[in-house]
């Protein structure tokens, strides 16, 4: 009842409900007869109600069982109001709430799904990934929970990694993927705002050169020094990245935020905050297991729909 500002509403609703039923019954019994006047020839033509001078109300009586059906529905209403919540704040003797009913139906549905999940839980992630039915379930889970950021095809987008390629920020083993799903990841690239703009431009050119992109060779030379001093700690001396903290490999062609010089400058100056939310409390372990298998399978199991 928190939606209402005072307990008076409960009393008001109980009154409307209770008085409504009594009023209906009173009306039914008080109106079951009417006084009419006989015609001269002894026939009873109508109920005596006339409108517009010539519209007369005839009496086509309802059957009496109809009346008792009405009484029966009033009795039903009273029984209902005793068993279920309806009279204001009274909770009903059955203790029914829609929340309880929903929770019960969730428990029931989980119970029904248990054997399906149990089968996959007893299997290794790689075995699950090879099972077409499990892949289909995994796909539905992916489309519901992951596709908003990573795309329906798992191809990712700016800031959201591509899950269908063979490049992994935190490692592509089944264990790693599962850990990403359970605990989430925070991919933090700190901002190097203290660097001078020339230094940033130099390091951006150096980083581009690592993956063979066009770069100013003079800047590349100077950038190597800046890189060693500021970036190598996480991205490694050779720029191969570090899976333990999700530092990307800078020598491949995969760019999470883009590989143009301007974008790299922005990344260095402002930093980046990648955020993969933890799904431990959102998804059941069974669903995480199926999702892990699906995501792993994207780059490890051949899709039957492709050539």
């Amino acid at each position: 009842m928190s939606d209402f500002f005072s307990s008076g509403w409960g009393i008001y609703i109980a009154l409307v409900t209770g008085v409504g039923i009594i009023w209906c019954l009173y009306l039914l019994f008080s109106q079951r007869k009417t006084n009419v006047t006989y015609e001269a020839d002894g026939s009873v033509a109508d109920t005596g109600h006339v409108w517009d001078g010539d519209l007369r109300e005839l009496n086509n009586p309802l059957p009496r069982w109809w009346m008792w059906m009405f009484v029966l529905s009033c009795v039903f209403a009273i029984v209902y109001l005793v068993l279920y919540p309806g009279m204001g704040t009274y909770e009903g003797s059955l203790g029914y709430t829609t929340r309880n009913a929903h929770e019960a139906s969730v428990v029931q549905a989980n119970q029904q799904l248990k054997p399906v999940y149990a089968k996959y839980m007893s299997m290794d992630v790689k075995q699950v990934a090879a099972d077409p039915a499990a892949r289909e379930m995994g796909q539905r889970l992916f489309l519901n929970h992951c596709a908003q950021c990573h795309g329906s095809d798992a191809g990712g987008s700016k800031g959201f990694p591509n899950l269908a390629d063979t490049d992994w920020l935190y490692g592509g083993d089944t264990q790693d993927i599962k850990q990403t799903l359970i605990g989430g990841r925070a991919g933090v690239m700190p901002a190097f705002a203290h660097l001078e703009s020339a230094q940033v431009s130099d390091v951006a050119n150096y980083v581009r050169s690592l993956s063979g992109l066009a770069a100013d060779q003079i800047k590349v030379g100077r950038g190597a020094e800046v890189y060693k001093a500021n970036c190598a700690a996480c991205h490694g001396a050779e720029g191969k990245g570090m899976a333990a903290m999700g530092a990307p490999n800078l020598t491949d062609k995969v760019w999470l935020y883009g590989g143009s010089e301007a974008t790299i400058v922005e990344t260095v100056l402002k930093g980046r905050n990648g955020m993969m939310p933890a799904h431990e409390t959102i998804l059941t372990p069974e669903k995480i297991h199926l999702l892990t298998a699906y995501v792993w399978g994207l780059s490890n199991v051949k899709d039957k729909n492709s050539k």
Binding site: Y38, P61, R64, W66, L143, A154, N305
Partner: protein, 486 residues
């Protein structure tokens, strides 16, 4: 019982208190034979052979007519309807309503008298009642016996209800058989392994049949059916209805057979009340058309027999229009008024809809495709030179054969469709009566397109395979958009 209707005497001499509720007076219709009785028998048989027989008809290894609510598929011979086909139900209901308007305008409540389940089952139940208990007077006598019942009465009543319940149960069973495969249902019934809902609906429908056809009868028509109440807006003075010719019959009265009733100042109605006795809703048709008349024509058959016996012309009660009756037209002349504007309008609208309905069912495409553009990511740059958009394709095959599906994207130069894994998509196979959800990416070279949103099309072609497959190439053309970022 008549006293019940007029309750206590009121204050002044000719004022009475009238009850607005009455105890039902049981109706004992007398059996009748004749043209309309024969028609009714034919229609009872036709509708019931159809109803009881249809679930047993097989079509390509499945039940020909099955409404599978659990998997949301309606099978009607070669047609499999999905929830997306709900428009057909709408059209069917509109057509039914128009048919009702048309038939009512032309000839009153034909449906009520001959095809309505309420009438048909009441007719079957009354036929059993007549066979077991005897005709009208025997039944009135039997019900008039006082408590405690004699062995004879017990035996007769139990026999009647046994037969009624047998038919009711078979009806309930058949009804459920439209929703659960009837062969499975019969096996489950014999083994006592019916599911709770199947058992509930079987018994519920049986109970409804037994109650409605055995006890409620004309009360359903009088108090529950809305059709009775709105017939007055569809019937006009040119509508053919069961009509008592008051210009010919009144004034009514008994007379000796030899007497010349015209000299006695009497009409043709001998006031034998047989038309009232045969009426299944217990009305007097001589009061004119009324909402309780279900247009069954029993009174016509009965009156014609009497007219034959007393040597007058048949047709004192007949199917004719009010205008024809008042203006003494013969039926030929009265029929000229059938094709009046209202009927022609109903007929015109109905024909158009019927053609639309039939052709759309006949030309229905069992291939359906939904294209959903990914909303999370508008577009992405790949391999430095290409723009990629992601779509989910939902390919639905509502035929009963596997479909080989090919997809082509058009609208921009050099469009390429790839699977999640970035490979070219093979010809897809969509299983019978199922759907395939497949994420695809569409690629275009950056130099070929300008920034902005471009309309594109997915052209999907499919062919069915299998022994009963249709050879028709199924085509769908779904619109979507392709976004190129600035």
């Amino acid at each position: 019982m008549a006293n019940d209707f007029l309750a206590d005497e009121g204050g002044s001499q000719n004022t009475v208190e009238l009850s607005l509720y009455e105890v039902r007076r049981k109706i004992y219709p007398r059996s009748v034979s004749g043209v309309f009785a024969k028609w009714r028998l034919i229609l009872v048989l036709a509708t019931q052979i159809l109803f009881y027989g249809l679930p047993w008809v097989q079509w390509n290894d499945r039940q020909a007519v099955l409404f599978d609510l659990v998997s949301r598929k309606f099978y009607i011979f070669g047609l499999v309807l999905w929830p997306q086909d709900i428009i057909y139900l709408t059209l069917l209901l509109i057509l039914s309503a128009l048919a009702l308007f048309l038939f009512t305008a032309v000839a009153g409540r034909l449906f009520c008298g001959y095809a309505c389940p309420q009438t048909v089952y009441t007719e079957i139940f009354m036929w059993i009642e007549r066979k077991v208990e005897g005709d009208r007077f025997a039944r009135i006598r039997l019900d008039g016996e006082d408590w405690p019942w004699s062995f004879h009465k017990w035996r007769i009543k139990i026999t009647k209800h046994f037969l009624w319940i047998l038919i009711a149960l078979w009806t309930g069973f058949t009804f459920v058989g439209y929703f659960t495969p009837i062969k499975v249902l019969s096996a489950e019934l014999i083994a006592f392994t019916l599911g709770p809902w199947q058992a509930f609906w079987l018994l519920f429908y049986s109970f409804a049949t037994w109650g409605n056809a055995g006890f409620m009868r004309e009360q359903v028509c009088k108090y529950m059916c809305p059709y009775a109440r709105f017939q007055s807006v569809m019937v006009d003075k040119d509508t053919f209805v069961v009509t008592y010719d008051k210009t010919r019959g009144d004034p009514r009265g008994g007379r000796a057979k030899a007497a010349n009733h015209k000299e006695l100042g009497l009409g043709d109605c001998v006031d034998c009340s047989i038309c009232v006795q045969v009426c299944p809703t217990g009305i007097d048709i001589r009061d004119g058309l009324q909402y309780m008349c279900i247009g069954c024509g029993a009174c016509i058959d009965a009156c014609d027999q009497v007219m034959d016996k007393v040597g007058y012309d048949k047709g004192l009660i007949r199917y004719t229009s009010e205008r024809a009756m008042l203006e003494h037209m013969d039926n030929k002349k009265a029929r000229h008024y059938i094709f009046r504007p209202r009927v022609l309008v109903y007929l015109g609208i109905m024909s158009v809809l019927l053609i639309a309905f039939a052709s759309s069912v006949f030309l229905r495409n069992p291939l359906r495709v939904d294209v959903m553009r990914d909303r999370g990511a508008l577009a992405r740059e790949v391999e430095g030179t290409k723009i990629e958009n992601v779509y989910r394709l939902q390919i639905m095959n509502s035929s009963e054969n596997p479909m080989n599906v090919s997809i082509v994207a058009t609208g921009l130069p050099g469009m390429q469709i790839l699977s999640s894994q970035g490979k070219e998509i093979n010809e897809l196979i969509v299983n019978p009566s199922s759907n395939l959800l497949i994420p695809v990416k569409v690629r275009v070279a950056i130099e070929d397109v300008k920034a902005g949103t471009h309309p594109i099309n997915f052209d999907i072609e499919a062919t069915e395979s299998g022994p009963n497959a249709s050879k028709t190439l199924r085509v769908r053309d779904e619109k979507s958009s392709f976004i190129v970022p600035r």
